[in-house]
């Protein structure tokens, strides 16, 4: 019987507490857009900021916690740094809650310069927001560096990046988890350094009145945001590589193609962020073209190597279907579907009519909500399942999956349809031209509520499995 470490258990509790709350905030937003809750409309943008920051932060740290836990099979991360990162994340969350709920800070999750300084909320809330980001940034940077240190203690950099596979050698064997974690953590450090530069430039403006170039800040901000979101997805893929073979009873090993694919990702992910700036016509046109080429290229390793590899792993295997394996499997499908939406939007001519419409939250909610979230919950459930004394049983899992899939994809479909119909994202109230957006918002809120019921049921079941473990004699 496998034991769950207290640190992983703490992360599961944080996710179980925060994720439903953040979903409720999302449902509130869609309800306001549906012309309901008029008395609470003025909270829309602060709530939007909290929802975005919370979801991005939560679904970066939760899969990172999974990877840190899974890596313990091969390397020894520092438990002290792990707890420090956990504590720093909790402190950062509390500070963000204060600056948004008390200070009504509402610059959105990517807080484009100079909006945080010109939004009309009190200056202290902007300072607190930047302090919260600093705390989170330091905690996550230390955590990432410690995991890289732990990997480096056992593997050299060239081995951790599986370059010897490219040269035709299979020894020493490097698990895909180690390879993908190394790639993800390297780009994570790069993203966090960009975030540090952004925060320093904000403080320089606030304290010294030193104005910064808005296009430079936009590049830095989207580099950070794009990379952090994508590497979160990669962390989810890393634990899937590690755990899914336990259910298929087939190995999923690193080989030359896998090594080539993830080393390509290391470069491509750093260039694809340009697609966020297609509509900034002042950006050099060559850079815009590089953005589209890199965005298209990024889909090849994901689709042809990882998702194809996962399907091959499952095809005609003696798959042990249970909640964890189903969640991993449908999570991969969500990643693929969201990826299609993303690649379509990364086409410059298409982006010209979809940028900042609801198509954008449509595709990133697809690969986050129905991809990464399900993979991460799968890992957590796998931990509880593995720790439980009894084999999994009961039919409630089909109800859970039914509610989650029907609610989740119904919710996403409303985003896609409204986005194609030119409904803007991030509007508290739709003006007359796009007033039909309210109908899609109302339906989306109902679907999201359905997803929430499925999630709470899943969390309850996870809790029950954990309780069975605690009650079992040791």
């Amino acid at each position: 019987m496998r034991q769950i470490s207290p640190l992983t258990l703490s992360w599961i509790l944080v996710v179980a507490l925060l994720f439903p709350i953040l979903i409720v905030l999302g449902i509130y937003m869609r309800t306001v857009q549906a012309e309901q809750l008029p008395s609470l409309q003025s909270w829309f943008y602060p709530v939007m900021t909290l929802h975005g920051l919370g979801m991005v932060g939560l679904w970066f740290t939760a899969p990172l916690a999974c990877v840190a836990d899974a890596l313990k099979r091969y390397v020894k991360p520092s438990s002290t740094i792990g707890w420090l990162a956990f504590g720093g994340t909790v402190v950062g969350i509390v500070l963000l809650l204060v600056c948004v709920l008390v200070g009504r800070f509402a610059a959105g999750w990517y807080f484009l310069y100079p909006l945080p300084l010109m939004g009309g909320w009190p200056q202290w809330s902007t300072v607190l927001f930047l302090v919260a980001l600093t705390v989170l940034g330091v905690a996550w940077l230390l955590w990432s560096l410690d995991l890289l240190r732990a990997i480096a203690q056992r593997y050299s950099l060239t081995h951790a990046l599986a370059w010897h596979y490219l040269a035709g050698r299979n020894e020493p064997e490097v698990p895909p988890l180690v390879l993908i974690s190394t790639v993800s953590l390297i780009v994570c450090v790069a993203a966090l350094i960009a975030a540090v530069v952004v925060i320093v430039l904000f403080f320089a403006d606030m304290s010294g009145g030193i104005k910064t170039d808005s296009l430079l800040m936009k590049n830095l901000t989207f580099f950070f945001g794009h990379v952090i979101v994508n590497l979160s997805m990669y962390l989810g893929a890393a634990v899937t590589y590690e755990v899914l073979p336990e259910y298929t009873t087939r190995p999923w090993r690193t080989n030359r193609v896998v090594a080539l694919s993830w080393n390509a990702v290391l470069v491509i992910v750093l260039l694809a962020y340009f697609h966020h700036l297609y509509m900034d016509f002042a950006q050099p046109t060559t850079v815009q073209y590089i953005g589209q080429i890199a965005s298209y290229a990024s889909s090849i390793p994901a689709a042809v190597v990882t998702i194809f590899g996962a399907l091959l792993l499952v095809y005609r295997s003696s798959m042990r279907w249970g909640l964890a394996s189903v969640l991993f499997f449908v999570g991969l499908a969500g990643w693929a579907i969201g990826g299609v939406g993303a690649v379509i939007d990364s086409t410059i001519t298409v982006n010209a009519v979809l940028h900042n419409t609801l198509w954008v939250p449509a595709h990133f909610h697809s690969y986050f909500l129905m991809g990464l979230v399900l993979m991460t919950l799968a890992y957590f459930y796998h931990c509880c399942q593995g720790a439980a004394a009894h084999a999994e049983r009961g039919v409630s899992r089909w109800w859970i999956m039914g509610l989650t899939l029907f609610g989740g994809y119904g919710f996403l479909l409303m985003f896609y349809l409204a986005g194609a119909l030119s409904v803007p994202r991030r509007y508290a109230i739709y003006p007359a031209e796009v007033s039909y957006g309210a109908g899609y918002a109302g339906a989306a809120a109902a679907f999201a509520a359905m997803f929430l019921v499925g999630l709470l049921w899943l969390l309850g079941r996870m809790w029950k499995r954990w309780a069975e473990t605690s009650a079992a004699p040791t």
Partner: protein, 322 residues
């Protein structure tokens, strides 16, 4: 249950169905619907701005006319009622929406009549008019159909793989790798064709052609300004002649030179069909040149698609093509 199914069906199908022509509305009701309902109701409760039921009784008509037509000036003058309203609406200022005095007087009459209707015990407050969705633009339609087709394909493949586990057997790895090679060529080939077909049609203006018209656009929280001369600072707004009602000839090529005077905004042009036609960002310190062929006559609406603060959804301006 039937109502729910019908509502959902209409949401799902409406992008593919050409809209019916909306019934003609009274001018004041149309202006109210277009410019006021985002923030106000008449008897429906407070939104960002106050509930306007009975406002014609509480305030003098001349004050209301000025407030509707020149709210920015009244806020700048620190008119005590305007300042109080600003505080009550979480510092979201009433924007100058370019309403003419005659339109403001018509609006006041309309609000007065609707207030009376709202206060009558047997009469329900008028439901806000929700315009039907437009038909999909050609690019949006292609994107949506392609997305839905590929989603169905992915779903079918995943279901087939899941079902295959009912009959476990060993997999011919060599055959599988051959299939992966085919998948690679198909995916990479498709992407290369898409690159070749789309990179030549990007919206970035080249230096080799000149537009028929150049219009300068300045954005700031939470207004747009048109001018035929450059606007580079807030001070220019009082020295440069602004164009209140921009009219452009049908079939012309127009270049919008877009900048921002404060935070990041966006200039998104919606055509007479209410579809998004083109857009560019409005950035402080930069001018983005958006070139558009105005092929259809009618009223065009500009919205801001980059979140810019509490009044983000209020930013809009019109232009007419005829």
């Amino acid at each position: 249950m039937r109502i729910i199914v019908l509502s959902l069906a209409s949401l799902l199908l409406s992008p593919f169905i050409a809209p019916s022509v909306a019934a003609a509305q009274e001018q004041a009701a149309a202006i109210f619907q277009q410019k006021c309902t985002a923030c106000h109701t008449i008897g429906g409760g407070k939104r960002v701005g106050p509930d306007l039921a009975g406002v014609t009784q509480r305030r003098q008509t001349d004050w209301l006319v000025r407030w509707i037509t020149r709210p920015d000036a009244m806020l700048a003058e620190k008119d005590p009622i305007a300042v109080q309203l600003l505080a009550e609406s979480a510092q979201v200022p009433m924007p100058n929406l370019g309403v003419q005095e005659s339109e403001a007087r018509a609006l006041i009459e309309y609000i007065g009549a609707q207030s009376a209707a709202a206060s009558a015990p047997s009469t329900a407050a008028p439901a806000p008019v929700v315009l039907p969705p437009p038909s999909l633009g050609p690019v949006q339609r292609t994107a949506l159909i392609l997305f839905l087709l590929l989603t169905v394909l992915i779903t079918v493949v995943f279901i087939a793989v899941a079902v295959s586990t009912r009959r476990p057997s060993t997999v011919d790895v060599k055959k599988a790798y051959g299939l992966r090679r085919v998948f690679l060529f198909v995916a990479a080939g498709g992407l290369l064709v898409a690159l070749a077909g789309t990179l030549s049609r990007t919206p970035y203006p080249g230096a080799d052609s000149r537009p028929d018209h150049i219009v300068y656009v300045a954005a700031r929280q939470f207004d747009f300004y048109f001018s035929l001369e450059p606007i580079v600072s807030v001070a220019d707004l009082s020295t440069v002649p602004l164009v209140k009602h921009l009219e452009l000839p049908v079939g012309s090529s127009t270049e919008f030179r877009v900048t921002s005077l404060d935070v990041n905004h966006n200039f998104a042009l919606y055509g007479p069909e209410r579809r998004l036609l083109a857009q560019t960002q409005a950035m402080p310190g930069y001018v983005n040149r958006l070139r558009v062929h105005l092929d259809a006559a009618g009223r065009y609406q500009v919205l801001c698609l980059e979140y810019c603060g509490a009044g983000h959804h209020l930013m809009q301006i019109e232009l007419t093509v005829k």
